[in-house]
């Protein structure tokens, strides 16, 4: 537990600075847009109504969806900019609304006095209207800060580093201390910034220069300290690969000094394989950047646009979600066609199968299967009305579930979407009867689950493959460096590694090290 704490603590400077940079930039730009817009709209009631409606609609889009939408809108770009843009849009409403309400609420007599005394429109704005509506505008700013700092934790799936990394990774690897870290620091940051703005406003209203200066310095310190890891070029990650490079004589040297970005989707197996590739590439002298917790299809978009260089995906997933093929195909044909298709359209190189398959398979507890007398999906047809199937939110809209449901007559079955990390426990405890398990998950064996047969061959094959972006494919030495992984990880090895993380609370890096010792060990 204390080792876990030390590891989480070590991640803090990087994640906190990412979080601060993202949310403060979003709020500053949001304020630079919404305050002038509010000033312009306040005396124009129809315009004010329209802009508030638009900002209100943006606000009602769930934060995660708004962030995810920015990725296709920016042409597949992932990372800082889509997250920044979504959070900036998110910050607008409270500030805009309060600017308009605050300005409209300035006493009509005072407003007329300002005109009657001979103030110009800009003098009226700066000397009378803005100062008098400041408390209302600041209240909007504070709301915005709390929202944006909270919503910035959702930037993780689009590839921006934030305190959300703690939450997403912790959720997937059942590391609750990590989730707690994310919550505590995100909430603490929100409260700290909120209170500092409150003090600044009090200082401004009571004209207390000392207090204003003190708070400004404290705010500067907080922001400066949290941004330090970004502002000062990090020395430790750069020196690590150099050190390992010294004692590795027999690896291809073409990658020395190259920066390679490894992507990973948000589940255990992906973290382990990304860590494994990181070890291999750093061994070869490359400088590795990790982009963990990418949304399932965001990962491919990011590879296609060159935001990441390499990641692991699965043939069946690419087939259904990228190539949009409704029907599964034979395993080798699928791989061959996919390889050609990805290369032709996107210049993406399919390096080869790792050697294991992580398919969707419908699983139940052995006891429940025996009780119902079920061994294959075909046996469920008559029972469907009494059963509930759990799965990740993605599967129920994918052709795997839709095809299975239609082929085996499971239309009457109730579906319950949940995060994949919870579904194994849910089926074990009888909260659902059936789950769309991932066949490499260590919990299938640990919880004595059985994967039901698929006699109609509806579920496509899911061979894990290494995908390289066009840029990475052209990089000398990269494919060679990763080649030892191809065909070297079988299902047992992958299940074993997943199990170390999911059930034995090891870190993905530890599991990757264990997996490295078993490469090609069939």
């Amino acid at each position: 537990m204390s080792e876990n704490f030390a590891e989480r603590w070590a991640e803090l400077p990087h994640l906190l600075s990412g979080h601060v940079l993202l949310s403060l930039a979003a709020i500053c730009v949001g304020m630079a847009i919404s305050v002038p817009l509010g000033i312009y709209a306040a005396p124009r009631p129809r315009l004010a109504g329209s802009v508030l409606n638009i900002a209100g609609v943006i606000q009602t889009i769930p934060g995660l969806a708004l962030l995810a939408l920015m990725v296709p809108l920016l042409g597949g770009m992932i990372g800082y900019w889509p997250a920044f843009l979504a959070l900036m849009l998110y910050s607008i409403l409270p500030i805009l609304r309060n600017t308009i309400v605050g300005l409209q609420g300035v006493d009509a007599g005072v407003r007329e006095a300002a005109r009657g005394l001979g103030m110009t429109p800009s003098q009226r704005l700066w000397r009378v209207e803005l100062p008098l509506s400041l408390p209302v505008i600041v209240a909007g700013l504070r709301t915005s800060v709390v929202w944006v700092v909270g919503a910035a934790t959702l930037a993780t799936p689009v590839g921006a580093s934030s305190l959300g990394n703690y939450i997403f990774a912790g959720l997937q690897t059942r590391n609750w201390l990590s989730v707690l870290f994310g919550c505590v620091f995100a909430a603490g940051l929100a409260i700290l910034l909120d209170q500092m703005i409150r003090l600044l406003e009090i200082a401004a209203r009571q004209r207390r220069r000392g207090l204003a200066g003190g708070v400004a310095i404290a705010l500067g310190l907080v922001v400066g300290l949290s941004l330090l890891p970004i502002l000062v070029p990090a020395s430790s990650p750069a020196s690590a690969p150099a050190a390992s490079h010294d004692n590795s004589g027999d690896v291809p040297a073409g990658l020395a000094g190259q920066t390679i970005s490894i992507g990973a989707k948000a589940f255990t197996e992906q973290y382990i394989l990304a860590a494994l590739m990181q070890d291999v590439l750093e061994e070869a002298g490359a400088v590795v950047e990790r982009r963990d917790n990418l949304g399932s299809t965001i990962a491919y978009d990011a590879l296609r646009s060159g935001e990441i260089d390499v990641y692991i995906d699965y043939t069946g997933t690419i087939w259904a979600t990228v190539m949009q093929r409704p029907q599964a195909a034979q395993r080798d044909l699928m791989l061959a066609e996919m390889t050609a298709w990805l290369h032709t359209r996107d210049g993406v190189l399919t390096l080869g199968r790792l050697g294991f398959e992580n398919a969707y398979g419908f699983a139940m507890t052995r006891a429940r299967a025996d009780e119902l007398g079920v061994v294959s999906l075909a046996d469920l047809a008559g029972l469907a009305g009494d059963l509930t199937v759990g799965g990740d939110p993605e599967v129920f809209v994918r052709s795997e579930w839709i095809g299975t449901r239609d082929a085996y007559g499971l239309g009457a079955m109730r579906t319950r979407a949940m995060d994949s990390t919870f579904m194994y426990g849910a089926v074990r405890d009888g909260q659902v009867d059936l789950i769309s398990a991932y066949t490499t998950d260590g919990r299938i064996a640990a919880y004595d689950l059985v994967v039901l047969d698929d006699p109609a061959h509806i579920l496509p094959p899911y061979d894990a493959v290494i995908l390289l972006s066009a840029r990475a494919a052209a990089m000398p030495g990269l494919a060679e460096a990763l080649a030892p992984l191809v065909g070297a990880i079988d299902g047992d090895a992958m299940r074993g590694a997943n199990r170390l993380v999911d059930l034995e609370h090891q870190t993905p890096a530890q599991a990757a090290a264990w997996l490295a010792t078993r490469l090609g060990d069939e």
């Binding site: 005072v110 007329e112 006095a113 005109r115 009657g116 005394l117 001979g118 103030m119």
Partner: protein
Amino acid sequence: MIDPPPTVLETRQVTKTYPGDIRAVAGVDLILKRGQMLALAGTSGCGKTTMLKLINRLEETSGGSILYEGEDIAALDPVVLRRSIGWVMQGDGLFPHYTVAANIAIVPRLLGWDQAAIDARVREMLELVRLDFVEFADRYPDALSGGQRQRVGFARALAGKPDLLLMDEPFGALDPITRDGLQQDFMALQAQLGFSALMVTHDMAEALIMADQVAVMRDGLIVQCGTPAQLLKSPADAYVAALLDTPRRQIRRIAELEA
């Protein structure tokens, strides 16, 4: 009189029509001589406040012309015009986020006076409206009584040394004793400084006591204009007579009670 005082303000057939063909002002002629006070009296909604706002161009006329110091105000920059005219509004209209001193300094500051001149003027104005500088200069308006606020309102309106003061019901929100004291002080102030004033009021007694000329307005038109004595002697119509009757009746009633 061989040398009559010059005209400060003259309005010629001024009209103001609002959308929907509502005529607030329907052709008004007024003349205000230097150093005098003209009271514009009438019941609510007769157009007297609108008339006042046309003069410093808080509203624009629909027809006719207004001459200030002989110049047509339509040709002047409204901001420059307003800085040269003092403005005392209904309620006090003080800036709640400015101290008393800062409120009084607004127009001198807008006129670009240097700081020493502004400070001296603030002291002088507080003294003129009989508020102690040390006690009041740094207070905010919410720490003043109604009468004190209105005194600051006068000081603010006169701080830029205007030739003309426009006042909209300046004593309307005050209790009778405070009002009486302030009216007396105001008349002394006008005698001392020599500015001209146009005051809108619905209180006929106030108009008769304070003004050199009283113009009675009804439905956007001037029904009678003259000295208080002329009005009392020969009211032009039943409306004017009715307006004059109220203070008369009150005085008679009080006299009867005292007898």
